[in-house]
Amino acid sequence: MLLKKLFLLVILCLLLGQVDARLDVCATCPYKAIKPAIAASQAGDTLFIHSGLYQEGNILIDKALTVIGIGYPVIDGKNETEVITVTANRVSLIGLHIKNVGTSYLEDRAGIRIKKAKHFLVKNNKLTDTFFGVYLEHAREGKVVGNVMKAQAKNEASSGNAVHAWYCRKLVVENNHVSGHRDGIYFEFVDSSIVRHNVSENQLRYGLHFMFSNNDSYEHNTFRNNGAGVAVMFSKKINMWENHFEHNWGGAAYGLLLKEINDADIVRNVFEENTIGIYVEGSNRIHYLNNVFRHNGWAIKIAGGCMDNDVSGNNFISNTFDLAQTGKGTYNRFDGNYWSEYTGYDLDRDGVGDVPFRPVKLFSYVVDQTPETMVLLRSTFVDIINFSEKISPILTPAQVQDHAPRMREIDIPFTH
């Protein structure tokens, strides 16, 4: 009996020893600064940083700590150094306000850098004028959630990315609001990761940028007013669901750029007021299903070398050009879409037009051959030739046809 009690006591002591300590940091707390608090802490401890201004240069976190800011304490890099560098597993950074990292042409400084670590959590932080916002290198199985990152990038050479991931796996980037960087979210060699419910706007270059990253998915994001919405390059098996690509407008802008992409699904996205909705180059076996293209310059522009793409069940509404493609032949399918320009009839009233629709206009074909002719856009002559080509097609690629154009806008089952 006594033995049993003793045994329980030992267990209890062991457990108590395990209970994580709490360290408070503020002007009147035991710890006045963050660095000493980290030095005094042990793995598993929680640091509470109360509101105030902390200027301590580069702060290294090399043990599994939970750092929680109360009332958004300002951690200022004074435009001189990187602010927080994490090299341990199981580190959480919550509710901090990190400021002023400053441009460097020699090193990629970041507001928060996670280096060779797993199971991290970067949550509800504010990052203002950090050169790179959250920089993940060789990081795995972590989350970047609910952060607000703002910067005023002037040009591409002197600016960084808001979320930058390099050689990572199984990341979740969720509910962040990023603006004014070079790229909003940048993935290079990042596999099996999810990007969702983020808003990325006013970036100099891309809202979201994939390079050499496979098996990822991004969904329910909004990309607005970026140099270009999303660029997906040299990647395989990317799912793109229910994103909004809005007003990525400018001479060389587009909503979504696909370059050397294979086996992707582009489903239920909305492309609105982009110079080019989707620009596709050398991409194969992609399903474009149930997307909405509204008021774009070009809805889809397909350059050479694209095969076995399937464009179906999409709504094309009031685009200057619905489709442009180089070359005469096509190995892609465009059946079963709604085109607001379609003027055919439906005698048997099954909702499917009885005459095929040709989405490539004559003028779009001419512009493709001689880009300078674009200056005749919206002239009467161009309207006339487009009309006559529509009546009796001669020049536009004969194979590019929607054999089952829908008579009415397709009802798209958005999930939110």
Partner: protein, 260 residues
């Protein structure tokens, strides 16, 4: 000249056709503004209509007026009035009344919908200016044709041909030329060719002000640079004024020595 101008101007603004013309623009603009809240879209729709209709109506109206008032002109010529002033006064009277109808027809609806405070004011003013200049240009061309040709049929035919040429045929030739010489740099050619046609020039002046200019790509950027510079603005307005000046000068010359 002042008297003649006043006479034809007031004669015309009381005429039924001027009122119909005015009513057409009022209805059209009101309808467009009510249907689409986006003013820049309204400007684009109006642009397409204006670039086609303003030249057509200005030239047809002027040529008809010119032929119909031939007897009146002959009567005036018998009076002690400098003959050049008769024709110039008539031209100004017709062109101004057309311009006034256009100005009121487009202007009133936009004012009612509160264009003055909005960011689209610049687009609207460009549209207004372009329409006014086109009225004067095509009216002058039509007067010149009517003055040169006594044969009404020939006069009408030529006027329609001139309109058709600038509105449609010119762009066709332009397009073919560009496709033909596509291996050469075409930006300056395109710039020059659009400067020469008042309708194309008007279209570019409006398009470049709107968002849609981004679609024009590289050539558009060249255009934007040109029309953005003070030199480009001077040159394009100069070109449009030249299209008024040269025909008016011809009217002035011919009316001085022509025998009736």
């Amino acid at each position: 000249m002042n008297k003649i101008f006043k006479y034809s101007f007031f004669d015309l603004i009381r005429s039924r056709w001027t009122l119909v013309y005015l009513a057409f623009y009022l209805l059209l603009t009101f309808a467009l503004l009510t249907l689409t809240p986006d003013t820049s879209k309204v400007v684009i729709s109006l642009m397409n209509i204006i670039l086609l209709l303003v030249p057509l109506i200005a030239s047809m109206f002027s040529v008809i007026y010119s032929y119909n008032s031939r007897e009146f002109v002959e009567l005036l010529l018998a009076q002690p009035i400098p003959r050049r002033q008769i024709f110039l006064g008539q031209y100004l009277g017709v062109a101004s009344s057309l311009a006034l109808s256009y100005l009121l027809g487009i202007g009133i609806p936009f004012l009612v919908f509160g264009i003055l405070g909005s960011a689209q004011l610049g687009h609207f003013l460009t549209l207004l200016l372009v329409g006014l200049l086109l009225s004067f240009i095509f009216s002058a061309l039509a007067f010149l044709i009517a003055l040169k040709h006594d044969n009404k049929l020939k006069g009408f035919g030529l006027t329609i041909l001139v309109w058709l040429f600038f509105a449609v045929i010119y762009d066709g030739l332009f397009l073919v030329a560009m496709m033909w010489f596509r291996d050469y740099p075409l930006d300056n050619f395109a710039l020059g060719a659009s400067l020469l046609n008042p309708i194309d020039l008007s279209r570019m002046l409006i398009l470049l002000k709107l968002d849609i200019a981004a679609l024009l790509g590289y050539t558009g950027a060249v255009f934007q640079q040109f029309f953005g510079s003070s030199m480009g603005i001077l040159l394009s307005v100069g070109c449009l004024l030249l299209w008024i000046g040269v025909p008016v000068w011809r009217i002035y010359r011919i009316s001085g020595r022509r025998d009736f």
